[in-house]
């Protein structure tokens, strides 16, 4: 019997063409018109490496780029939209697709890599979100949100720069579907293939970079587990650790 099964297994693999492993986490970068959709080319790969190193999440490290109109979009429930300059407004079909994608289970992380307050990218993002969810304003994500406790216990938002000590987000039916960072998270994550950081932390130390990586891990972990850390079984320990953590 053992031999027969081995044969079946071999047959399956000898016949199969390469198949993408959709069970593993893949974070596609959204391609859009205008501006620069990949100002930190190594950001996603570096975040994936950190996820693989620090957590049990299985990842596909190779980043892929995808358009919102791509029919493969729904194979990836987490997408990353980054930029450092203003971009063209999304077309109505793109807006419709993105709204549908987020409303039915997808998650979007937007990262402003411009390192400027009120940047052109920021204006484009806010314009996009106002069209995407006209009735739901972008709001600060509170400190007791699961994003700040899904893996690491985090006090505030971080990034390569600290323009805003918070994340903003959109929640639909209790689920946060969009998180927006203005602090250049990708810049803090990006590492070259030799293992060196691609960008220096602005007016901060390595602690700030670590906080940025932790925030990235938490955001991904939240998208995969949602409010798991608010289950009653976790609360006593988490609250006790938070109490001690904040008292330091």
């Amino acid at each position: 019997m053992m031999g027969l099964t081995v044969t079946i297994g071999s047959l399956l693999f000898s016949q199969s063409v390469w198949a993408a492993d959709y069970s593993k986490l893949t974070i596609p970068v959204i391609k859009y018109r205008g501006g620069d959709y990949r100002p930190r080319p190594e950001a996603v790969r570096s975040l994936m490496a950190q996820l693989a190193r620090r957590t049990s999440i299985e990842v596909n490290r190779e980043p892929i780029e995808i358009k919102l109109t791509d029919p493969e979009l729904y194979r990836y429930p987490f997408i990353y939209l980054a930029g450092s300059a203003g971009f063209e407004p999304f077309s109505p079909p793109e807006l419709r697709t993105l709204r549908h994608y987020l409303g039915y289970g997808g998650f979007l992380l937007i990262d402003d890599n411009s390192s400027k307050i009120h940047s052109e990218f920021d204006a484009s993002v806010r314009n996009l979100i106002s069209k995407l969810f006209p009735k739901i304003p972008l709001q600060k994500i509170s400190r007791d949100h699961s994003i700040f406790r899904s893996f690491y216990l985090i006090n505030r938002a971080a990034g390569r720069v600290l323009l805003n000590p918070f994340l903003e987000g959109i929640s639909i039916k209790g689920r946060t579907v969009l998180a927006y960072s203005t602090n250049d998270l990708g810049g803090a994550w990006a590492k070259n293939k030799l293992g060196h950081w691609n960008y220096d932390i602005v007016a901060g130390s390595s602690t700030q970079r670590q906080a940025s990586i932790r925030l990235g891990v938490n955001i991904v972990m939240y998208s995969l587990t949602l409010d798991y850390k608010k289950d009653m079984v976790h609360l006593p320990i988490i609250l006790e650790r938070l109490r001690r953590y904040h008292s330091k």
């Binding site: 081995v6 190193r53 049990s56």
Partner: protein, 763 residues
């Protein structure tokens, strides 16, 4: 009368009375008019005869006119001859014997039942009643809240009726004897009329009694002296309870003349004591309220028994125990969901479980392994230790279902604890393994107790897991399986399965065990690699889904223009089947009601399905009905084309019944069992005291006498008036005016009058 017989013929011989009846209603007016007008007319007539010199002729003519007027008057008064047949009738005496349940209560110090007192009195006065029967009609009835003739009272009669209401009894008595002469009534009772809490009779009863012209003599059976009783007066228990959740009971106890003692209040299920609580009974305090809580451990209709001890000399034995039924259901299905790593598959399944209001979810994600470098002290992590001992040693049985999703047990669960999962499933639990690299062989489950309970065996392959995309193929033999039922209509259901997005990620090296069901698989050439497989293991059920990509049926389907509805439905079906909800069973037994009343018809119904979940027609099943008495009745039933059959019987006794149905199929026995309660009325024991005041009042209002039957009393002093009563049985009427001879006589008189007047020279 003989004259009439001679006049009207021998047909009148059967009548023994006659009478003249006058017709018009205004007879007095007619007589008055005739009384004035006839003499006046005669006076005028006499004066008109002045020209006739012959006195005899004048007298003759005057006489003729007098007869004519008399005859006319007679016609106006419309006389009729009434012939009657009548005979004398005996007066009735009614004996009313209370046969309500309270008559079975003992009275002290002799400890005789109340009804025994009555019986003794009747026996002691046999001659008296026999003497009464010579002069009267003596009718005996049992009474409660109704009257029924008592044909035989020589033997002690059963006190079985659930209610006493004198108002209804006296109304029925009045109605029955409306046309019969009633000389008097004997009422033998304890006076415990449930409609009267105080001694004073109600206004309705007083009005009712006032209509009786004969005396009602009341005889009080028993007394309240030394009434000793400990009773469960009332019990407040829910009809439904939730498994593993406390059920609260509120019990009211009543103690009368019990002295000072501590008594145990015990709750049992069958012979097993669930809970016991000591109640301090103190002299001078009658009522006690006790709150109890117990936790049902099994699903189904459960019969519980609550009791206090029966002490020597208690008046009522039956109220020391009270049985009740609770339908134990799941409030929510408790699911333990272990995820080996965060993934889209686990995230979307968790969303389904969390959003299902019927699910109580405890989930754990292994967020890091020992080899992961979190680069932070534990105090800066939100991670908690995995409580494997608590989950798999202490609380495993509190879960209805355990899911291992892409979970490798090593490092988290001691291998020894896997045998606890096997025991849990064999005892009725549910276990589901969902695929991924860390499942099956990848999780090290081959040759462990987990492999024993799963529907598949695991063999090492070159690779245990493939990323290949595949289309699940539903096994046609099992297309009616409840897990696969995404739409009610078969055609629609098939279309849905064909339209679901492809899956990717498949665990290899799995072989379906005998007796397992491969619901869908991956078709490679002619063989079907198992993907979704189920099996029954011991009393429990297990299933495997050898892929970690079922989330494609949610998010990818949304991207294709559909919704996640069928993904949700699929998982809810899996939960329903694996937790053995009644709707997913092959054999189901049910009753048409939760509870029945004594004397009600009980309908038991079963439904049987084939192994492929199609209706099993023509199956012969054994139904065993276990009655209150413990007596077993066996019936052989056959299913119809829908797999249904019914059985009816009369629940003639209060208490709890159970029915069990069995089917032997291919060496396996399918069975189902239900219990149901049949309730009798216990109100008679809720107000058990003798009501002497009410009996005195009844006797006083009707002119009767009241007597306490503290021993067999002599009733010979009770005398009744016995006037002769004639009863008319036949009647006939003859008209004395509306016939040919009365009109002929009138015409004859007038003609003779006319002829005589002409002869006398008058016009």
């Amino acid at each position: 009368m003989n004259f009439l017989i001679e006049l009207f013929g021998p047909g009148l011989a059967e009548y023994n009375e006659w009478n003249i009846q006058w017709g018009p209603d205004n007879i007095q007016v007619i007589i008055a008019v005739l009384g004035v007008s006839v003499p006046l007319a005669l006076w005028f007539f006499w004066t008109s005869l002045a020209r006739i010199s012959s006195l005899p002729r004048k007298v003759f003519l005057f006489g003729l006119r007098v007869f004519t007027f008399l005859l006319l008057g007679l016609l106006l008064l419309q006389p009729q001859l009434e012939l009657k047949k009548s005979h004398s009738q005996k007066n009735s005496i009614v004996v009313l014997l209370d046969n309500s349940k309270s008559m079975s209560i003992k009275t002290f110090p002799t400890e005789e039942k109340r009804m025994d007192r009555v019986h003794q009195t009747l026996q002691a006065n046999k001659d008296y009643f026999a003497g009464l029967k010579n002069k009267f009609n003596v009718d005996t009835y049992f009474v409660s809240d109704q009257m029924e003739p008592a044909s035989q009272v020589d033997e002690p009669f059963p006190a079985r009726m659930p209610n006493t209401d004198y108002g209804k009894v006296f109304s029925a008595l009045k109605s029955n004897y409306e046309n019969k002469p009633l000389a008097g009534v004997f009422l033998f009772t304890d006076g415990a009329d449930l409609t009267h809490s105080a001694g004073e009779p109600s206004r309705e009863l007083v009005e009712n009694l006032a209509g009786f012209k004969s005396p009602i003599h009341t005889f009080q059976a028993g007394t309240n002296e030394s009434f000793k009783d400990l009773s469960i007066q009332s019990l407040s228990a829910p009809d439904f309870g939730f498994v593993h959740q406390p059920v609260s009971l509120t019990v009211s106890l009543n103690a009368s003349a019990m002295g000072n003692k501590n008594i145990p209040l015990v709750l049992k299920e069958g012979k097993k004591i669930l809970i016991s609580k000591v109640v301090e009974i103190r002299e001078g305090q009658g009522d006690y309220q006790v709150d109890l809580q117990f936790t049902p451990r099994d699903l189904g209709k459960k019969v519980y028994s609550l009791s206090v001890p029966l002490f020597a000399g208690e008046s009522i034995a039956t109220n020391n125990q009270r049985d009740f039924q609770v339908k134990v259901i799941r409030d929510r299905t408790r699911i333990l969901h272990l995820n080996g790593r965060p993934s889209w598959d686990s995230r979307y399944l968790r969303e389904v479980l969390v959003s299902n209001p019927k699910v109580d979810l405890l989930s754990f994600f292994i967020l890091r392994t020992l080899s992961d470098d979190v680069a932070a002290p534990t105090s800066e992590l939100s991670l908690i230790p995995f409580p494997s001992n608590l989950l798999f040693n202490d609380y495993l049985n509190s879960f209805d279902m355990v899911i291992f999703q892409n979970f490798r047990f090593e490092s988290f669960i001691d291998k020894k604890l896997l045998s606890n999962i096997k025991t849990y499933v064999q005892g009725g639990g549910a276990f589901l393994m969902i695929g991924g690299e860390l499942s099956f062989q990848g999780g090290g489950y081959d040759r462990t107790p987990i492999e024993d309970i799963l529907p598949v065996t695991m063999q090492k392959a070159l690779k245990n897991y493939s990323n290949e995309e595949f289309k699940p193929v539903v096994g046609q033999k099992l297309k009616h399986h409840p897990i696969l039922r995404l739409e009610k209509q078969e055609v629609s259901n098939q279309k849905i399965w064909e339209s679901l997005p492809l899956l990717n990620g498949l665990n290899l090296g799995l072989t379906a065990k005998p007796k397992s069901h491969v619901l869908f698989g991956y078709k490679m050439k002619e063989s079907l690699t198992p993907v979704l497989v189920t099996i029954k293991t011991g009393k429990g059920r297990t299933a495997v889904l050898a892929t970690d990509s079922s989330w494609n049926w949610n998010f990818r389907r949304v991207g294709e223009g559909g919704s996640g509805r069928y993904y949700e439905k699929f998982w809810n079906n899996v939960i329903d089947w694996i937790t053995n909800t009644p709707e997913t069973r092959l054999l189901r037994l049910e009753t048409d009601k939760e509870r029945y009343k004594e004397g009600e018809e009980v309908l038991i119904r079963f439904n049987v399905l084939n192994e492929d979940y199609t209706p099993a027609s023509g199956e012969k099943l054994n139904l065993t009905l276990i009655k209150v008495s413990g007596e077993n009745e066996k019936h052989l039933l056959e299913s119809d084309q829908n797999g249904d059959s019914t059985f009816q019987f009369l629940a003639d006794r209060e208490g709890f019944y159970s029915a069990e149905i069995e089917l032997d199929r291919n060496g396996e026995t399918l069975s189902d069992k239900i219990s149901f309660g049949v309730s009798g009325e216990t109100a008679e024991f809720d107000k058990p005291l003798v009501n002497a005041s009410l009996l005195k009042n009844i006797a006083e209002i009707t002119g009767g006498k009241y007597l306490v039957l503290d021993e067999a009393k002599d009733l010979s002093g009770y005398r009744f008036e016995n006037p002769e009563v004639l009863v008319q049985t036949k009647r006939k009427m003859f008209s004395l005016w509306d016939n040919w001879w009365s009109y002929g006589l009138l015409v004859g008189f007038l003609m003779v009058d006319w002829w005589a007047r002409r002869k006398s020279g008058l016009s």
